[in-house]
Structure formats: C-alpha cells, structure tokens
C-alpha cells in the first residue's frame, strides 16, 4: 500500500468526479427539467391517473434520487476495489 504511485489516487478521483457528474445530470433532469421547467409540456401525457409532469415533481424524482444514491454507493465500492483504495475491514 505504501509505495503506490500517486497517479492512482488522481485517476481514482477523476473517475469519481466523472461518475458523480453523470449522476448529477440525471438528478437535474428528473427534478428541475421534468418536474419544473417542462412540467406543462409533460402534463399533456400521463401514466395511470398521474399527469406526467406532476408525477415527476411529487413521486418520480424522489424514486430516481433514491436510485442514484444506491447506484453511486455500489459503483464507488467497485471503484475503491479496482484502485486498491478500499477500507480495511
């Protein structure tokens, strides 16, 4: 562990930032885009009895947020192991 090249840490950090930026794009799309900016457009469609824009604002975005956090945790655990920076058990 002690003499790992510093490049590994930099690569690990870049991979992390890339991943979280992608997830933040999704975060923005489901809430700000679908739930707020495009709400009138999407309300013309519906799933079940939910107008789609309203659904994103009060249900859908929350489910996606939940998915994003668990997905990030799962991907980062893999990344930790790939780069050998995981915590000791």
């Amino acid at each position: 562990m002690s003499d790992r090249p510093t490049g590994t840490a930099a690569d690990y950090w870049r991979a992390n930032v890339r991943l979280l930026l992608k997830l933040l794009v999704v975060w923005f799309v489901v809430s700000y885009l679908c739930g707020i900016l495009l709400v009138d457009v999407l309300n013309a469609f519906s799933i079940g009895g939910y107008p789609l824009g309203y659904f994103f604002a009060q249900q859908g975005s929350i489910y996606v947020f939940l998915f994003l956090i668990f997905f990030y945790a799962w991907r980062m655990n893999k990344l930790d192991r790939e780069f050998g920076v995981a915590e000791k058990e």
Binding site: M1, S2, R4, A9, Y12, W13, N16, V17, L20, L23, L24, W27, S31, Y32, G35, I36, L37, V39, D40, N43, I47, G48, G49, Y50, P51, Y54, F55, A57, Q58, Q59, S61, I62, Y63, F65, L66, L68, I69, F70, Y72, A73, M76, N77, D80, F83, G84, V85, A86, E87, K88
Partner: protein, 590 residues
Amino acid sequence: MDTQTWIYLMVGGSFLLYLVIAIASRAGSTDDFYVAGGGVGPVANGMATAADWMSAASFISMAGLIAFLGYNASPYLMGWTGGFVLLALLLAPYLRKFGSFTVPAFIGARYYSNVARTVAVICLIVASITYVIGQMKGVGVAFGRFLQVEFETGVMIGMAVVFVYAVLGGMKGITYTQIAQYIVLIFAFTVPAVFISMQLTGVPLPQIGLGSTMADGSGVYLLERLDNVITDLGFDSFTTPEHSTLNVFMLTLSLMIGTAGLPHVIIRFFTVRKVTDARKSVGWALFFIAILYTTAPAVGAMARLNLMETVQTGPVGEETGNLKYSERPQWFKTWEGTGLLAFEDKNDDGRIQYYNANSEEFAEEASSYGWEGNEMVTVDRDIMVLANPEIAQLPSWVIALVAAGGVAAALSTAAGLLLAISSAISHDLLKSMLKPDISEKNELMAGRIAMTGSILVAGYLGMNPPGFAAEVVALAFGLAASSIFPVLLMGVFSKRMNREGAIAGMLAGLTATVLYIFVFKGMFFIPGTNLFPDEAGYWFLGIQPESFGAIGAAINFIAAFLVSRATPAPPAEIRDMIEDIRVPGALRQV
C-alpha cells in the same frame, strides 16, 4: 376504550420506550456523546437520520400544504429529498473519512483557521436555534391538541423527555430513540393513508392509489375527480403550476442545498463505522424519508377530496348540493372545537358553501346561486393530517397513533438539533479554543451542561416565540445553503481553496442572504422595519426570500474563488489532508 384513553396509552407508552432506551444507552465517553461511539450500522443510522430530518412540519404540515397547493408544493417534496443526493455524492463520505465530531471542526481543520471555525459555529448555532424553536412549538401544539394540556405544559413535558435521553446519552441516546421514533411516526403516517387509499380507490398502496381510478365504479381517475371538484368551486387546479417558474426553481434549489448543509443532518453521518457505510447510509436515510414523502401527496390529495365532498355533496349550484350544517359529521364538530375548522352561515341558508371567494371569475357564478361568501372561514392546513383518521372513520387507536407520531417527529428533530448546538459549544468553542487541556471526563460533563442549557433556551423560545417564528425556517435553510454547504463542498473538491477564500465566501453568502431576507421580512424580523413589502412585485427577479439561499450560495462561491486566487495557496499538509479524505482507505502509511 375511548379515544382519549388510547392517546394517553400510546403517547405514554412511547415515552416509556424512549426512557428505557435512554437508560440503556448512557454515554460513557465523548465518543459516545458526540458520535454514538462511531459504530452505528448504515441502516440504523439511515432510520435515525430520517427521524432527525422529518420534523413536526414534515409530519403534520406538509400533507396539508400539498392538499391546498397541489403541484405548487412540489419544491418542498423535491427540495427536501434531492438534498440527500448532494449529501451522498458531494459531502458525507469525505466528511466521514475526515472523522471529526462536529461540522465546524472540519471547517477549522480544512481551512487551518479558528476564525473560519468560529464563523461556522455562529452559522450553525443561528440555523439550529431558529429551527429548534419550531420543533418546541410543534411539541406544545401536538400535546395541546391531543392531550388537552396547556401549550406551556406540553413544551415542558417535551423538554423533560428530551432532557433525560439527550443529556444522559448524547448522540448515543438520541440515535436509538430516533430509531424508535421513526417507527412510531412512520406507522402513524402510513396506516391512515393506507385505509383512505383503500376507501377511495381500492388500492392499498397510497402511491399507486393516487394514480388510480375511483373505487365508486365511475372509472374516473382520482386526480381528475379532485381537479374537477375544486375547479368547479373556483379553486386553482391541483396538478398544474401557478407560480413563477424561476421562483419554483430557485426555491427547490435553495431547499436542496440547505438540506445538504444542515449540520444536524451532516453529523449523523459521523456516527457510522466507515466511508462505505456513510455512502450507503444516506441512501437508507432517503429510503426511510421517501416512505413518508411519497405518501404525503396521496394523503394531501385524498384528504382534500374527502373534505370537499363532505361539504359539496351534490352538483354545484343546486340547493341540495351543499351539506346542511346541522347534519355535519362528528369529526367536523370535534375540530370546530379546536378552532382549526370554523363555519359562518353568511347567507343564512343553514347549508355550508365552501368555495374560492377570491376568484373573480367564480364570484359572479357564486352570487347567482345566492352564495354570499366562503362559509368555511377557517380550514387549517394541519387538519389534513390530524383529522385524517376521523374523516376516514378509523378506529380510536389509529387516532392515538397519529398523536404519538406527531410528538415523535417533533422530539426527534429537536434532539438532533440540540446535539448539534451543544457539541459546537462544548467541542468547538470550549475544548478547541478556550480550554484545549480539558480532560475527556470534563469535556463530557461540559457537553451535558451545554445540552441542558440548549434545552432550556429552546424551551423558553418555544414558549415565548419571537414574533418571527413562522419566518425563521427560511432563515435556517438560507444560512445552511449560503454559508455552510459551499465551504464544505469547496473543502473537498478544491485543493486551491484557502482560509481567506473560505472566510470571505461564508461572510459574503451569509450577509447577502440575511440582508435579502431582512429587506422583505424586517430587520431582525422586527415588524415594520422591512424596506419593501414581502410581495412578488418587489422581489428581485420575482425570487421570494425563502428562495434566496441558492443565490447566497452562488455569491459565496464567487467571493471565495476571487479571494482565494488573490491570496496564498493552502499549506502542503492541507493538500495532503485533502488527498487523504478523497479516498476511503489509507493512501500512504503514516
């Protein structure tokens, strides 16, 4: 057994449970007191965080807000959940790796400055105190409504219960009581929701029921029915926006950033064992929160429909379409007694007309029916949750459960906030700045004294709320968003950010936000000292003071960037520290 006996049993039983937990989880060290020993499992911590986060407002008021605002309440739903994504991706794992007891401790170390730490302590204390006033009031109100005791007595009982487990157990006692409180409050919220969803749509899951057709065989979707019923009476549509898009956007963003920057939430992630647990634990926290937050829109919509259809029993405009006041249901009478519902027979026809008298388009139609104004002169929003079980004719024990749930929601949040305040005092101010040589035993004692003091101050303010109590939550979120969140984020993601930049950023963001709020709400919230009326026409770009936190955060970032570029980079050991918190394991052996 009558309802009142059930309520005493449920609330009393839940208190007994909290006290047993308090005695079982006494704090023996500062580690226990500040971070519950640092060994809380990710699921358990998620549950505790959910109770910590969901306040009396989430439990009692949010569904009511949705019931009356419909789509326009969405910023609260998205804002108070989306913030956890920011917390999980941008802050929690790194702050856990750093492993401090408090948020200001991280800021002080990262920016190698006691000034930065002190500014952070001030932001933390102001944000948390303003927040805790509302919780103490919530405890008093919940007691007053359900146990028929005086408001002050209610606050004092609440203070006494918190005192036992927070002073004895610190974070350790708070964590395990919060888990119990979560279970109480989530049952209390979802059980009535499931029953009502079944009654209206035949679907037990409220989240699905809200998107389903009515169970009356009409084949009409519930939301469509609700929209028709309320727009027929001149109210705004339930599912479409009414407010400025920019303001909705900024409010959502401010609440999200504020959520991720609230110290009492962040410190909960100092209690887990390791970084991977911190990542997962934020997910569990949001999972437990989402159970309530996705149910609330259903409760709001269904309760509103129930209320409307109770009063408007037939077609609008026909005399028999309105309920006779003498035939009003029992729950109506019960809640009239509390003043949360009030009727005034303006046209003396003995029937109840409930419509939007502020709608100009509808006014003409209403007067053609012989209606002389909206006769439901008071419909308190809180009633949507509080009266829900009675409207749905649920058994007494469910009503009692809601009482215990409301109290649990208020107590759990109050305790979390009080811990954030007292640890900032005993650890950041006393141990780190004033008396660094204090022994652990004495620091623990100081923590307990600070906790006792905080409870007394919070209780006093809860009983004598400054005139601005209703406005202060905006201030708490604004402060967290504009001062705390940006410096934490830059502390992790920018190696160049230095002491001077962080201090300038915090002060700039804080000042801008506080001033913007004061300009519309009055200097220090003193009525009459505002420069402009708090109305959309005067707001900068139509942004209400509650939505300004995001702009305050932007000002913080800009000020911090400019100042940091003009001043020396942080020392090498700070850069090493940043390298270290960015990876979960050890980078280099020390």
